[in-house]
């Protein structure tokens, strides 16, 4: 079963996954905390309530134990030999005047010692003891003041049937006091009572004021019928303090269904518990701030807060994830770009390297080309030199001839006429001028050929000038050179010497072609002919034309397209560099011209060059080319 993984997950990095996992765990943990917190709160509340109840129970039990001890004290006192001695002496008939007073003294001493010795946390438990006879007369009173036997306070507190100590609350001098009384028996006959008044403040300090489990606890001791005895309210609110007086008595009391049962009543802001004291007509009331026990945890708040936190976490997580994804994407793109950059850089480097190589190669090529061009030019120059040699040969022959004639004349002592000498000298001068012209032309050619400086030239003159360099050679090789110029000047904007180079090159190729054909031709009547012609047209575009035609070997169709390619040649390496026609084409194109080839293998080739015509206008200074008539 193939699990579909969300695309965004696939591109998430490990750290992000970790964050996601942590956040999810955090959410789960928060949920867990929430639940446990709620449970803990509930448990805490229960614990607080339990602690409160325990506290109450403990206090109640302590109070009960306290009263049990007091009862024991009284029983023990009632059966002391001091009190027994009194009853014995009384039974003997002794009178107070003669001996019985001693018993009172001893009893009082005993009771005072009890007051001094029975302490609770350093405080006296008992405030006062009295011994009362059956008629309610006070026999002994530890109170240091005057004993008033008519004081109604002195009376019997116990019924005749009472055999055990009893605790009760009585008002003495307007104040409620906790009292205890135990019957005194002599020979199983009720003989009197021993009464004790407890020190309420000592009792209260120990059992009511004793450190509370909670600062908001408060305790109060009341009588069974609801009268206030003593209270300590802790740090509960004013409301609780005031409220205590408003609780109806019936609600403050509790019917004990089981011994020691603690009843808890709930009111507005406080929790009230009533703990009855088993062996005394007293109730212990405890108060506690309700919120503390029943809690103010308001679970919905907790949920709300936790929910908000969870939402915040989730939203943050989402934002983090999104940012991370975008970062991841950007990072990926950046890495890709980096890669591409590196690739490009590498390629650039390679390219640069290749460019450099290519540049070097081109430079080399250029050098080679230059060399080849130079070589070609040199070859052209050579051609030209060869042509020039032919051309110079004739005038030199003429100069020699004339000079010989003059010398012969002089040597033979014939009288060579001055006129003949002048005529011969003139011919020598003309031939010399011709040679100078030829040499000058060659010199100019050598310097200017390949230059791009242009000027308006008559095409006819330029062709003628260039052709003239090879005219004699052609003649010596037996090649017929046919010339056909335009009857009118054809002005073009060119560099004449560069065009002469073109003409030399084309004428040279034509010569080679016809000579080649002559070599291989079996026809005896083959006559190599090279023709050169110029004309112009006035059509849509006025153009000047130069055509060089030969009836040589011609160029095959498969070679024709390459004929103008640099370094392409059909000749042997020592015969040609392959740059002639490419240079020719570049020169022509430099002059905004065009060269075309029309060739038929075995028949011959026609090279046609055309240039834009420039019109000439006559000005007061002479002819001046204004512009290309096409423009």
């Amino acid at each position: 079963m193939h699990l579909r993984v969300p695309p965004w997950l696939t591109i998430m990095s490990k750290p992000l996954m970790s964050i996601l996992a942590v956040c999810l765990i955090l959410l789960v943990y928060m949920g867990f905390l929430l639940t446990t917190n709620y449970k803990n709160q509930v448990a805490l509340h229960q614990s607080c309530l339990k602690t409160f109840k325990l506290d109450m129970g403990k206090r109640g039990a302590s109070i009960e134990y306290f009263f049990s001890e007091r009862k024991y004290d009284l029983v023990h006192l009632a059966s002391s030999h001091e009190i027994s001695g009194y009853f014995m002496n009384k039974s003997f008939g002794m009178s107070e005047n003669y001996g019985l007073k001693l018993s009172f003294f001893l009893i009082k001493k005993l009771l005072k010692n009890i007051i001094l010795s029975k302490l609770i946390h350093g405080r006296e438990i008992y405030k006062r003891f009295m011994m009362v006879d059956n008629n309610g007369h006070c026999l002994v009173d530890t109170f240091g003041g005057h004993i008033d036997y008519h004081n109604f306070f002195y009376k019997k507190f116990l019924s005749d049937n009472q055999k055990t100590p009893e605790i009760f609350v009585k008002k003495i001098n307007g104040k409620l006091e906790i009292m205890m009384a135990v019957p005194c028996f002599y020979k199983n006959k009720l003989s009197g009572e021993l009464v004790a008044i407890l020190n309420l403040s000592s009792f209260a300090i120990n059992f009511i004021n004793f450190p509370h489990s909670f600062s908001t606890e408060g305790f109060e001791l009341i009588t069974r019928d609801g009268k206030y005895l003593y209270g300590n309210y802790g740090k509960i609110s004013d409301f609780a303090y005031k409220f205590r007086f408003n609780i109806p008595v019936e609600k403050r009391l509790t019917k004990k269904t089981l011994p020691g049962l603690l009843s808890v009543h709930e009111y507005s802001k406080i929790l009230v518990a009533v703990q009855p004291i088993d062996n005394a007509p007293l109730d212990l009331i405890g108060w506690i701030d309700k919120n503390l026990v029943l809690g103010s945890f308001e679970p919905w708040k907790l949920f709300a807060v936790t929910g908000i936190i969870a939402i915040i976490i989730l939203v943050s997580l989402g934002i983090i994830i999104r940012i991370n994804i975008e970062n991841m994407i950007l990072q990926t793109r950046f890495n890709e770009a980096e890669k591409q950059h590196k690739l490009i850089t590498e390629k650039n480097r390679q390219l640069k390297s290749e460019i450099i190589k290519r540049y070097k190669a081109e430079k080399d090529l250029e050098e080679q080309r230059t060399l080849r061009i130079r070589s070609d030019r040199l070859r052209s120059l050579g051609e030209m030199a060869a042509g020039m040699a032919h051309e110079l040969n004739q005038p030199l022959m003429g100069v020699r001839g004339m000079s010989e004639l003059i010398l012969l004349g002089i040597n033979k002592k014939d009288s060579i006429s001055l006129e003949k000498i002048q005529r011969h000298a003139k011919i020598i001068m003309e031939q010399s001028d011709r040679m100078v012209h030829i040499i000058k032309h060659v010199r100019l050619f050598a310097r200017e050929a390949g230059s791009i400086e242009k000027s308006i030239e008559d095409l006819n003159e330029v062709v003628n000038s260039g052709m003239s360099l090879l005219q004699a050679q052609f003649k010596s090789h037996g090649i017929a050179l046919e010339i056909s110029f335009s009857p009118t000047p054809v002005f073009v904007f060119i560099n004449p010497f560069s065009l002469e180079e073109v003409i030399l090159n084309l004428l040279g190729n034509a010569r080679d072609a016809v000579e080649e054909k002559k070599k291989i031709s079996v026809k005896l009547d083959y006559t190599p002919v090279v023709s050169i012609s110029t004309w112009y047209s006035n059509g849509d575009k006025a153009m000047a034309y130069l055509e060089i035609k030969d009836n040589g070997t011609g160029i095959s169709k498969d070679i024709s397209p390459k004929i103008f390619d640099p370094f392409f040649t059909t000749k042997a390496s020592d015969k040609g560099t392959g740059l002639g026609l490419s240079i020719t084409k570049s020169i022509i194109e430099e002059f905004n011209g065009e060269i075309t080839l029309n060739s038929k293998e075995g028949k011959g080739s026609i090279f046609t060059i055309n240039f834009p015509i420039y019109i000439m206008e006559k000005t007061y200074k002479g002819n001046k080319c204004i512009e290309d008539i096409n423009n």
């Binding site: 001091e82 027994s84 014995m88 002496n89 003997f92 008939g93 003669y98 001693l102 003294f105 001893l106």
Partner: protein, 314 residues
């Protein structure tokens, strides 16, 4: 002239009879006083005590007045008095029969109810008697008493089982005494001659009671146990001692009633020691004022205040 005097004295010395007279006079006026100086020095007054550097306290081990191990109300009182005088304290044990003789240096014998005969000579052993000593008429004839140190009286103590009921107080001591005496007919009563428990003082001889004399060489504290033991039916006893006995043996003994009116105890001084007595009275007053004496009484006889709550004020 000088020569003449020498000759006359020399001549007298040669006279033998003159010499004998001188010797006799010397003996009479010097030696005899020395011989008898013990009597006058033993019962010395204040100066003699101070000169002797000690106060000799005559006492009888009796209840809480004089107890063994050098404690007791009178013992501590005398110790304080000695310190007050700036002398050492010395306890001298005596008995009821000889104590006055030990003080006076003479044989003292009571005769009848209130007479006494002094005879003979004997060593004076003490300077003061303080031992719960009741002021009795016949004793007054022989010694001078200090201010009252302790209140007392004489009660008739009986065994609890004796079928004689205690009297019902009338509010009149004399009537109560009579009522008590009326019950004595045929009842044995333990007494001690020559002391505050002498029956003659209280007219018990005329009540028809069987008088039993307690041996004077016995300790008085054995009197009440004798009653409890059934040796005698009753005994008379000082109130302070009776009170202690009632505390000690509750339910064993009972008080029938009084046989004497209120009595006083005091310290006894020889009539030749008025200064010492006066000094003691001054000392006693001081002790009463500053509370030392009350402290002593509370220590040894706290119950005395039940019946004599104001005795210190008197």
């Amino acid at each position: 002239m000088g020569k003449d005097k020498k000759v006359s004295v020399y001549n007298l010395a040669k006279n033998k009879s003159f010499l004998k007279s001188i010797i006799l006079i010397t003996i009479v006026f010097i030696i005899f006083p020395l011989l008898f100086s013990q009597t006058t020095a033993g019962a010395g007054d204040l100066k003699a005590v101070i000169k002797a550097g000690k106060l000799r306290h005559l006492g009888i081990y009796y209840a809480n007045f004089v107890k063994k191990n050098n404690t007791g109300l009178d013992v501590e009182l005398m110790q304080m008095f000695a310190e007050y005088l700036g002398v050492k304290y010395e306890f001298v044990e005596s008995n009821w029969t000889d104590i006055l003789s030990d003080l006076l240096g003479k044989n003292v014998k009571p005769v009848g109810d209130d007479n006494v005969v002094l005879s003979g000579k004997r060593p004076v052993k003490g300077d003061v008697i303080a031992t719960g000593f009741t002021i009795l008429p016949w004793r007054r004839k022989t010694v001078d008493f200090s201010k009252m140190t302790f209140p007392t009286g004489i009660w008739l103590i009986a065994d609890a089982s004796l079928p004689v009921k205690p009297i019902t107080p009338t509010g009149n001591i004399q009537e109560d005494i009579q009522a008590t005496k009326n019950l004595l007919k045929g009842i044995s009563v333990l007494v001690l001659k020559g002391s505050c428990l002498d029956p003659g003082i209280y007219g018990l001889n005329k009540t028809g009671a069987k008088i039993k004399l307690f041996p004077p060489d016995h300790n008085l504290k054995e009197m009440i146990p004798s009653v409890m033991a059934g040796v005698v039916d009753t005994t008379i006893m000082d109130v302070p001692v009776a009170l202690i006995a009632l505390q000690r043996w509750p339910g064993e003994i009972k008080v029938i009633g009084p046989v004497s009116p209120k009595q006083k105890m005091a310290c006894a001084f020889p009539k030749t020691s008025p200064n010492l007595r006066r000094k003691f009275n001054k000392f006693l007053d001081q002790c009463k004022v500053d509370g030392r004496y009350k402290h002593l009484v509370n220590k040894y006889y706290p119950s005395v205040f039940i019946y004599y709550p104001h005795f210190l004020k008197n």
